[in-house]
Symmetry: C2
Subunit: 438 residues, 2 copies
Amino acid sequence: MSNPRQLHFNAFLMGCGHHSAAWRRPGSSLEQLGDIGYYESLAQNAERGLFDAVFFADGQSVGDVAAGPRWFFEPLTALAAMARVTNRIGLVSTVSATFYTPFHAARMLASLDHISNGRVGWNVVTSMFDAEARNHGLEAMPSHEDRYSRAAEFIAVALRLWDSWADDALILDRAGLFADPARVQPIDHAGEHFRVDGPLTVPRSPQGRPVLFQAGASEQGRDLAARYAEGIYAVAYDLQSAQDYYADVKRRIAAAGRNPETVSIMPGLVTYVGSTEAEARAKQAEVDALLPAEQSLAQLSVFVQEDCSGWELDAPVPPLAPLGDFSGPQGRYATILRIIEAEQPTVRQLLGRLAAGGGHCTMLGTPEQIADQIELWFHSGAADGFNLMPPLLPESLDDFIDEVIPVLQRRGLFRTAYTAGTLRGNLGLERPLVSLRR
Amino acid sequence: MSNPRQLHFNAFLMGCGHHSAAWRRPGSSLEQLGDIGYYESLAQNAERGLFDAVFFADGQSVGDVAAGPRWFFEPLTALAAMARVTNRIGLVSTVSATFYTPFHAARMLASLDHISNGRVGWNVVTSMFDAEARNHGLEAMPSHEDRYSRAAEFIAVALRLWDSWADDALILDRAGLFADPARVQPIDHAGEHFRVDGPLTVPRSPQGRPVLFQAGASEQGRDLAARYAEGIYAVAYDLQSAQDYYADVKRRIAAAGRNPETVSIMPGLVTYVGSTEAEARAKQAEVDALLPAEQSLAQLSVFVQEDCSGWELDAPVPPLAPLGDFSGPQGRYATILRIIEAEQPTVRQLLGRLAAGGGHCTMLGTPEQIADQIELWFHSGAADGFNLMPPLLPESLDDFIDEVIPVLQRRGLFRTAYTAGTLRGNLGLERPLVSLRR
Ligand SMILES: Cc1cc2nc3c(=O)[nH]c(=O)nc-3n(C[C@H](O)[C@H](O)[C@H](O)COP(=O)(O)O)c2cc1C
Ligand SMILES: Cc1cc2nc3c(=O)[nH]c(=O)nc-3n(C[C@H](O)[C@H](O)[C@H](O)COP(=O)(O)O)c2cc1C
């Protein structure tokens, strides 16, 4: 049998889970959020499930501390610890191109690639909030355009820094050279945003270059992903929007002169698994019921720009204005209209959907039902894999690993053992070679 | 028995050892420099020796890659990994106040303090080389004065960020608040160098504040240490210069309104331990002999600003001009004159002394001889402990742990078990408390 195309899975780790009320459940992992051992065990579970990688998002401002956990560990330090209790799973860290210097980012990621023996990925983001900017010396975020122009140069510099040590630069000759100076070269970069002479302080790392991930949604975000990303975290509420995004970004990748097949597009995916569909629905309803009604309605009022405080929680959502008549931020509002159209939810159900994954897809049901949907997305030009966003941690991740993964394996859609020792290898990517000689 | 004053020991980890020819020895750890397991085992050894901490220096430029290993791992990521295979030993990372932002530094160190359960220290440096500046967007290093003014503000901001979460901010009430917003406060810092709103993204860490180390030698460096440092890495070639530095810095600490007894001054210390003095000398001579003569003489020519290429290696050092007549950089030249005066070395011996620790003290001999000298320094106002700079790693560190530590323990000068779970506790420092209420 030739090598059939295989799914890729990424486990997006987030506190007690991606549902914003997850921490409120009795017995939730709330008390373990400051214990790195908790994240280590999540990574070990994901490795048991043969996931390509675990992934940490990151932000530089704290948000509303009353409403729930947001950040705790800084991702690079957390992943360094987690690297030492896992062997095969990839470790993807978000690092903001807006607030780091490329030298710091390239150096830390290369160091982590050595520590993990070649399992590091970098989710390049441009950050979002003025509160983040105000922790790093700015009054407000630079414009979207500025951020993306900086990010493009940032990535280019990081790649050159990683390539500044040839693969064969270390000589280790006790009677002669430690490294060959002809194979360790400055990069002498002087661009619009950065001046970086190089070379890096860290010798070439096991993967050559850590794997690049990106999650941009805008035109500029998609173009940056097309140019550099080797894995893409997408946002798609349903099959149609996933197919649209997939086709658009694959086209852009080709237009950028790269092979679209080498870039995995992974939409976010929230799952509730049950032995029956009713059991899965009950799991969802149980955590939805923990949402503090007043706060959630207040947040909804912001999203739909009308006063929802009087809405009946267990009644259907009242009619909303069509998208064309809405003057606030479009993205979230469009998602809300789609949820209403597709599911005719009660107000409480709508709040639950927004509280877990927001605009990302939710798949719910028996393992077979979920595997069917995954297979459909995978075979109809919507996804090369998924960025699993477990609503409850560790439970939803374990359910997926124990129940859904075996079904996908039986169908020949997912590996039954890791095929490589590096993240690059498991994603089917080639290791770039560098041989510098002056 | 009341609590007699106790020595503190810090293990300064550096590649194959602090002797610049250490990597050239047959059987050296050269091939392990890219293996984090090597550093983990060094930290485990130091923990077996009940050291207060292991310590990584750091630089942002690569230096001469032919001459030997300089940097490899980035310290914060390396120490995060090492935290997970050790339990009690402190983990001190150098972080440059010239090239980071205080928010990044405070956040990573706080994260590491959680990961290690309260064992993190921060060696605050201002960096040294233009090549470092050119990796971070500058043409050259800012002036010494600028760097120290920035460093002082940098530390003040980091401390306030660590204090931005009260010790009792986390409520973890599933039916109510995750954290109490009244106990998580912005810092709203706007100074000459930084604008940082805060609060930090990381809740208060086990030590409250990671322990501050500093190694400044200049007036400004000493004043910064006096104001903030809780441990000081000193450079002292001999007892007299150690006493001078010790008296001066303790006086400055008192003048800054702090208790000098709470700040440990730890001169760097290179040791060669043997069962006889001759055996110790042989160990030293063996590694000195591996110095590549031509390169070392070329470097010496720079230090003394005359052509040394014709100097006979096994003859005494030719007469040099007195310090007053020397126009080059004074510090290193003064050290060379003192070495010559104290030891009448051959040229090869001088090169060896400069190759291991430079201006730091070397103690050589039997365990008892070394313990005698340590005791003398400890009891004559020269040191509160030592920053051990093993010339050969792992051997010199193991020799010290296995041979010298037991002698010091028998003399009641060094603990026989860790007295606390945190670095702060083992250094005898109090944990600062923060209780914010709006
Ligand atoms: C799965 C996923 C994870 C993301 N993680 C982060 C993150 O950790 N930090 C961040 O600032 N932005 C994050 N983003 C936001 C994206 O990087 C991007 O800014 C966003 O999708 C909007 O697209 P645009 O920047 O092209 O307008 C994430 C987005 C997605 C879909
Ligand atoms: C033991 C020790 C370790 C040091 N480690 C570093 C380091 O890792 N990075 C660095 O830039 N400087 C390092 N330094 C340099 C000092 O921070 C300081 O710059 C130097 O002693 C000169 O003093 P001054 O800055 O007050 O002029 C170290 C110094 C000593 C004694």
